[in-house]
Amino acid sequence: MLNVSLNEIYSETYKAYRSVGIEWGIAKDGANLSRWLAEHNFYFLGSILKNADLYKTGKISLSLKKNTFKKPFSAALMGLLLVEYISSDNVKWQGYVYDYKFLIASMAIIAKEQNINLILKCNKTTIAYTLEKNIFLQKDKIINTNYFYLEPFHLKEKLSLNHLETLKALPVPKVNKNCWERLKLMAFETYVPESETSKTGAGY
């Protein structure tokens, strides 16, 4: 295992997503979600690599409407946009989701930044909700489906779920060294060999 910083996780994820052609804004959103997961001790690195692969091979959907069991909606890439959409339009959404933990991260981020409350369910079970800028979730719940419901949450009282607290003081995520190297190799694809014109006047 390797210690990495949150800043490294953000920047390497952003570049790795860019390397497979994901739009700038979406890649940044995905990187922010990864950072949040790492900061909160969720497994995230393999999920990023998998999402990038699925995007590259067209096996994942970025559409709110056109998602299926076999081609689910990418929460890792579109999670933040989805929570903004539900909050802006005050609508309920349901669909097939790949890797729902990125929805949890999205809910937590928009709750903290914009004090917006959402609730995530599968079947009739509540998986997570946000209230007063905090996220509450069933952390160890076994989920046997990839079909989820996400909607605005208007309840004023806490449900009986565990409170997930933000880690404080020098959080140092540990990652699998091989996966990290793979992510870095993907990120490297976004770099360009330095040209002679770039060198002119640059202090060589």
């Binding site: 910083s5 959409y85 914009q114 020098l170 360009v192």
Partner: protein, 567 residues
Amino acid sequence: MNIYQSKINFNDDFPLRHPADVMKLDRLGSFHQTRLSFSRQLIDELISNNWKTEIIKWNINSIGTGNAVIKISSKQRIYSLVVFCHQINDDERSDRVIAEKWDMTFSLFLGIPSKEELDEMSKNLKIQELGRHLPKQLTLSRANKSVRVFNSVLNNLSEGKQPDKKMINNIGYLVRTTAVYGNGKFGIADYLPETNDNPLNKPFQAEMLTVYLIRYFSIELVNYLAKEKGKDKSITLSNEISKHVGVGNATGLGMAPFLINHQKLIHKWIQARETAISRVLSIKKLSTYNQTKIFNLIERAYLYTTQWNVDDVIQFKRINVLRKELKDISNNKSLNGLLNNDYPLQNVYLHFINKISIETQEILNSIFIEPFPELLDDLTNEMGTDEQNTVAIGYKVNELIKIIKDKYSWALKIDIKNPDENFYFWYTSQAKLEPRLGATQIDHGKEKQLPFDIPQQVQNALKILTKLPDDMTGAEAMILHPEIRNIIKRVIINENFPFSEIQNNLVGKKVRPIDLLRCKLSFFGATKYDPKSNLWTRITLFQGAPLPHQLQEENATEWLFPYLVNA
């Protein structure tokens, strides 16, 4: 504790300058150090909380290699600068970020490192970017000696003589850093403004503390080596000269993307500066003491420019104009009357604004702010922020179009089909992952460009938005068109944080990246900008700042415009 006690009456009624005036590269590239600059904030903190500096480990030999640990502590906190000095050949000494060997390598460490931690750092610090670093390390840095100055100072001191002041002033430092990394780079600690309740939680304070201690170390090192060489005959560098020794820095494009990537933060910096200017321009009356201070600062600024020497033709001309205009202002017969009337600084500002260069306008702003630290306290606490990850909800398509037409009119006026407006593209180089500027018509790699072509993105987004229903939410528009996510986020941030966008085409032929560098460096508190091209500059940090043993002296907080008498 607040080190500034007196109170000045002011009204917040003088309007802030408009972002369309401020956020232009020619103005941003004319900024100077102010009381709000981060190096100034650091010195204020060290004074306020009575920080003490102590060398707790000194394993340096007579040829200057080895290691040292310098402890710096307040009642609440302890940090240490870990130093390793290496022997390198002259031909291995390079200012370029791609260098692989340095005279000295450093890290600011949280607390005092254990033996095991020092051992670990001894392997990794010397290889800098190639190493993996400890999460208790707050920064990572390296420096090279200015060999000519270092050796001359060393030889003179060892023979019992002070070095030539002119040479000290011309170079300005004994060592020059080539990078100071912070915020999680290469495994070091992340900068977490919300969770860090420590004195380094303001922007770039860890980096500034690192540089300040490097400066102290460089002076201690030359004194030590002079003693080793000259024994009883040797002397130490005088206080006057030591104070004029800063730390050099060679800065290139690596610094530029920061201003584009951290919109909210940049807004905070510029807004704090503009608010400070507005506050001092709103002061109704100046005491005789403060009138004299303003006079003296104008004179001091003039003296500073007489010792600010550069080879760069553009900057040389600008300094000459600055020098002349400062002299003219200082000699202007109406200055006394202007300062004596109501709203004195506003009078001076309005009297001269249309007659002087941007460089002079901005140095006047530094002068105006300087005597009034008590007006800035709340501002220095507002200069850090988290960047926003989500886009503020509630915007409809028609509102986004209106914001773009209103706030980005500068970008809509640019003819993006003109090759000159797409002359460059920004990319990350494979060599040490540094940002670079490529020529669109010549270089490969545009498809991997960084998203700094703001006018193009704005115009493309406007085209898309105008085809969507007016009452569609921005969120839905971005889901349908993920390609506009990046720019719409920028636009909405800019709507709420108006100083967050540089209003020039950063890929156009006329762009001068040096202006981006200077803007950021002015917030660091750099002096003696010495551009070597449009792409990189040398500067000096902490020149004129009090040394650790001088921090409790009277007027220690006042070190704007370093000037060495008889140099």
